[in-house]
Symmetry: C2
Subunit: 412 residues, 2 copies
């Protein structure tokens, strides 16, 4: 189903020493599907996260932030994460907070640690009470199945409208030490992360200081999950968590070291892959579109223009139809909010085809060239603003009938 993104093979997912994964079928929304995931970390692990900027951020997001910002974390580090699907525990007020805290307390009891050492996550329908008793009742089964080889099942356990699990692994050799990293992600709608996306987890086995990991998680989110959009809806539950289990002999304490830079490149590449998997499996997606905006005055204005194109329903339906109705792209550039944009300096490319030059139709542009590119399943839109040196890239998908069907049916 997903655009050029085969289902990952369980055998390709590398265990990361120091993190075990267990799941349960707790019947939170529907019976007989994995809907609870527990990830248990070694005592040596450091954890850092970035979360949604939505003002209606979900109760578990509020609890995660509090636990990660707690001064106790240095002495009592995060020991486990617990994720449920089927209910977002958002827009649920004080009772939602109580439910998230009760979940942490229950899991802490089983794992003999403090509730503040647990990070809770939820995804699903907003504005409905979390069936917290069912969730807690599912914990023993999840704990019983904890295993370092469970990444594929973990990716399945966090799916909602996703058509397939999203997971990938990589390794990087730094100072002769092989660092192994594996990540999972989910999300197919309500995707326009603004800090991170709706549930991405990436674990690696180096030892990374808290300060370095805090830095890395933000840097990584900004070039991966923070550059994708399906429908422009920034979710209430977006969370991206980076876990360094500290079980390999590589130790990274400072960010201005060659080791940090090498690790950052590898982590960003894997996070981008996980982020792209979300777009490729976007609700109803038939095409994977990269939008590259160059020659801007600032990264911010390049992102503004890229998102304006990526969010235009008219641009997205034209991609769905493989129709080179490319004036719609110029229109979206024009209303992006760059008030002093001189359109006479703007060029527009579709893959290698120069469509518009100096703000007007390129006289050499032929409809059949546009048509040829539009037929492809992976397309790059490139806009040159002719103003400066900044650039930005955003990844998105098209808007199809299937998107409407999925979202008109989501709760049924």
């Amino acid at each position: 189903m997903a655009v050029n993104s085969p289902v990952p093979l369980a055998a390709d997912l590398k265990p990361v020493k120091g993190i075990a994964l267990g799941f349960a079928q707790a019947g939170i929304k529907k019976p007989n599907r994995k809907d609870v995931l527990v990830m248990k970390l070694a005592p040596s692990a450091t954890v850092a996260g970035v979360f949604t900027t939505n003002r209606f951020c979900a109760a578990p997001v509020q609890v995660c932030k509090a636990h990660l910002e707690s001064p106790r974390m240095a002495a009592e580090p995060i020991r486990a994460l617990v994720v449920n699907t089927g209910n977002a525990n958002a827009g649920t007020g004080d009772s939602g907070l109580a439910a998230a805290n009760a979940t942490c307390a229950a899991l802490a009891e089983y794992l003999s640690c403090e509730p503040s050492q647990i990070l809770p996550f939820s995804t699903g329908v907003i504005l409905e009470p979390l069936p917290v008793d069912k969730l807690i009742a599912g914990l023993p089964a999840a704990i019983a199945s904890l295993d370092e080889n469970n990444w594929f099942a973990a990716a399945e356990a966090i799916m909602t409208t996703d058509t397939q699990p999203k997971a990938a692994s990589s390794t990087v050799v730094i100072n002769g030490v092989t660092v192994t990293m594996t990540g999972i992600s989910k999300g197919a709608g309500m995707i326009k992360p603004n800090m991170a996306t709706m549930l991405g987890y990436l674990a690696l086995d180096a030892k990374v200081s808290q300060a370095a990991l805090d830095h890395l998680v933000k840097q990584t989110a900004d070039v991966s999950f923070n550059c994708i959009t399906i429908d422009g809806d920034t979710s209430t539950n977006d969370s991206f968590v980076l876990m360094a289990t500290g079980t390999s002999s590589l130790e990274i304490n400072e960010i201005d070291t060659p080791e940090y830079l090498e690790l950052a490149v590898a982590v960003k590449a894997l996070a981008q892959k996980l982020a792209h998997m979300i777009i490729r499996d976007g609700e109803g997606a038939t095409k994977f579109i990269s939008i590259v905006v160059e020659q801007g005055n600032s990264v911010e204005e390049c992102r503004k223009v890229a998102y304006s194109i990526a969010h235009s329903p008219l641009v997205k339906t034209a991609f769905f139809a493989s129709d080179p109705n490319l004036g719609r792209i110029l229109c979206a550039v024009g209303y992006a909010g760059v008030d002093d944009l001189d359109v006479s300096k703007l060029n527009l490319y579709l893959d290698e085809v120069l469509v518009a030059r100096h703000g007007g139709r390129n006289s050499d542009y032929r409809e059949e060239d546009g048509q040829r590119v539009m037929q492809k399943s992976e397309i790059t839109v490139r806009v040159e603003l002719g103003r400066g040196d900044a650039c930005a890239t955003v990844w998105t998908c098209d808007l199809s009938h299937e998107y409407v069907s999925i979202n008109a049916d989501y709760r049924s």
Copy 2:
């Protein structure tokens, strides 16, 4: 087809003394359809307009602005408007400007006036050359059919993906003088006007000074066409023009008079009706949604929140499905960009049903109440922000399969 908006009856459209309308089938994009409209004004008329803020504003919009801002206008007032469908003449660079100017010159020649006394308008596909020869060849037929009773045909002549013509009339008695006003509008996609919408024209027969009319056109756009959105795409060609033919005995020169205020109320009501017709006939629309945001710190933040709800594809598909998945509305409020919003003060109503109270689900809210309202074809979403006294209203429609079909097929 349009939501609770029957096709206007030609007999209900009142002629406005001092404006005659003529049309032609010029074959600009397709044969055998009215695609050119000429509106000819009495020498006593004043004209004011507001136009798109899109940086890729179309060539005719640039020409309109230049003509309306020309110091010559006092002595050589606007005498005619010419509109073509089938081609937007946008993203067409210098040759587009030349085509718009050539159109003005040709019509001026026929009407024995200066080119600067003509306002040109185009609507249709962007980034394709305007077949200006066909347009000019159609002018004699349009001029031959000029008639004060042609409002219905005029409304038909400016349609593109509209399923029906949009026109309405009203009268208001001021100081014992009956003022007659009639307007037409078009637009069904690429609708999120930011000054005005894609072609709205409203004529009235009072004599109104240029300064008062300039003021009135902005005031009116801000409470009508500037409050609607279908897909969030601000067009390259949005234009709203107010014409006071000066043929009745009522004369309005100042804006701080009771006469101006009475006229403004009537003009705004008619403009709102025309704007609502655009939403009711929005591409694929099955529902007419009013989004009222109250208790904000400023009108601007209320509009931000209202547009955030109105543009959310998830909210729009839930309306299409009649599914009270109302957490999506809270989510859209949360990412609207009101950074210091205290969600614990927020209430959400669907018509009269209190769905969320103090930021969480209202304990008395029952799913069947939400379901009952969602089944209706006209729904009001009301958000109380609990921050201040400002409010704003935005009108929109739902997102259906039909929207995708229409926009995947538009050029074929």
